[in-house]
Point group: C2
Chain length 366, copies 2
């Protein structure tokens, strides 16, 4: 009998259990796709950075944290306006516990991380309200597919995460253009989900692009070009390249649903090898509905790391239980991975201790 | 008893045999470090490109060939002024036979390849005659070390190759600055090795930098900064990061000796895990002396793929037996790898057939 892991099955439990069983005791490669978009600077949209300009630094800082255990392009670590630290802290802690290799892939960045990263030929994204948000979508998908094929050759499975502030708004944009009902269903890193702001930005973008809800249902490349962000082609390509060979866990929340819709339209046969791995904070979120979006696209299972920071000695971590941040940088996927790789020897409590240690080190807290 | 492979031991045979045995039946990762330097444009220095400006395109074109099986940034494949094709054809054929994963790492390029590549933060190199050839050497070594550490985690061993026209001249530069006698000992891609031109360029560079033979024997970073090329810090860092965990085969000819000298000065303890893998054409070359250089630095073994293109039906391949090209893009290392991975099932003849097939496909020959 398999040891039970601190993992919940948020949808399609039988397939989710089978998928999780495939990961037990196996060696994962973690790839974090990072990018920036001007969409994140729309007032009130994102909590990933105290000031709008900070959102340009969040993805490279997250990447540095994963690879170096500290940030180089900013002091400290990325925090929300209230000082709640980046979910990269969870990811980093989980990956350290199992010594998993990490690669960073750039979809297009305003600020380059001071670490090695895979250049996939993309550029920073523009504000989706203009309806012309991302350049070279096809080329980046193609390059990322090549990279995914190569990276899959020596790993048992791959987890792909993301760091891009403003990413749920661009997800809503792509989903809407592709005819998937996601209004009021995408998640937020803030406790109060600014659905109205997101909807307004997407509507403005659709109009500017000369498109409407569902008009791009069979044109995912144009959907990203008009209303997406540069993380998406990088993530989609890596997924397509890798999942044709090995299982791939999409590490993230509702942003994953836009990538899922894109891959479903481009190469749906690889999805039999794919699951979403998120956190309990996303799966149980009352202000979003990941299941409701996924069910319109595919039957890929949704796994959720059953984390609980309620007992943490740090207020900055306890805040996660109040719905702040929730997910990002593949935190949920990395947590699931650490549990699966060790056949459950790493529990949510052991993981929390590791996160608290890193929190203390990096935030100077005691 | 082990099957014998078509591999020669050019120095330190006992250690070479032990190293080769470690690679048998194992899964390699091939990393090709690419970069450009203005040094390649000194008249008469390099055969890697018919006109000096072509040398900017050779490394990205080689990289595209490895990853795509064809070039995108140029028509056809890189050729010498006489139409002899790039050794990337050997590398590509060897890696295809064993389905080895390939990653491209850029040390600094004038022309970017149209494929995914690891950005290590470097810039294109300048003419060494000015004595100020490479920027950010320490930073690139540091980033490449991080990348090497991550990439080593899931591979049994790593082969690192290079593509940089002008690389034997910059190798002579770094070796001379570090006090290693390499005058008349570095190899050439041309049948007539232009030793005088190389020596003159290095002397001019040493003087311009205010240095002399051996004055930088304990300062490899400055040796590269003044007289090296941007492939070197990328290669050295990857080697340091990976060889602390797994065996690393340095795929190349006399250019490898400069990297070896650098790593020996920075972190000599990793060299117990390192061998040079080159071709018979370099090992048997009368116009250069790889053994004579290596013996001044370290006892790392030199393996040489015992290739023979004398029986080929294509003149462009037969020319290799006349001392044209000789090595590059990790050709020797990749050939050794294909033989070792298959326990000798891939012989030099099987490899030649594969190379001929690819030659016919890419050169339109029959």
């Amino acid at each position: 009998m398999n040891t039970s892991l601190d993992v919940l099955f948020a949808s399609n439990k039988p397939k989710g259990e089978a998928f999780l069983d495939e990961l037990r005791g196996k060696k994962p490669l973690f790839v974090c796709t990072i990018a920036t978009t001007e969409t994140a600077k729309i007032s009130g949209i994102s909590a990933a950075g105290k000031y709008p300009e900070f959102t340009d630094y969040t993805p490279p800082a997250d990447a540095e944290l994963l690879l170096l255990g500290r940030c180089k392009c900013i002091k400290g670590v990325p925090v929300t306006p209230d000082g709640i630290p980046t979910p990269a802290l969870i990811t980093m802690s989980a990956l350290q516990l199992v010594d998993a290799p990490v690669l960073i892939a750039s979809g297009g960045l305003k600020v380059k991380p001071q670490i090695p990263f895979l250049d996939l030929g993309g550029s920073p994204g523009r504000d989706i309200r203009k309806g012309d948000a991302v350049d070279n979508v096809s080329e980046v998908i193609e390059k990322a597919t090549l990279a995914g094929q190569q990276l899959a050759k020596h790993s048992d499975y791959m987890i792909i995460g993301e760091s891009i502030p403003g990413g749920t708004t661009t997800a809503l944009g792509v989903l809407s253009a592709m005819g998937i009902y996601a209004k009021g269903k995408v998640s937020s890193s803030m406790p109060e989900n600014p659905h109205d702001l997101k909807n307004a930005a997407v509507l403005e973008g659709l109009t500017a692009a000369g498109e409407r809800f569902g008009s791009l249902s069979s044109n995912p490349v144009r959907a990203i070009s008009c209303l997406g962000d540069p993380m998406m082609p990088a993530f989609a390509g890596l997924l397509i390249g890798a999942a044709s060979q090995i299982p791939v866990l999409m590490g993230g929340g509702t942003q994953m649903t836009a990538v899922l819709a894109v891959v479903n339209a481009l190469k749906s046969d690889v999805l039999c090898n794919v699951a979403i791995g998120t956190t309990k904070w996303v799966a149980d979120d009352n202000s979003s509905d990941i299941r409701g979006i996924v069910s319109q696209i595919s039957d890929v299972p949704i796994l959720a790391a059953d984390l609980n920071f309620g007992g943490s000695k740090f207020d900055g971590l306890k805040a996660y239980e109040k719905g702040v941040v929730k997910e990002g940088v593949g935190a949920g996927g990395a947590a699931i991975t650490a549990m699966a790789a060790t056949e459950g020897a790493i529990t949510r409590d052991i993981l929390l201790r590791k996160i608290e240690n890193n929190y203390a080190l990096l935030m100077g807290a005691k």
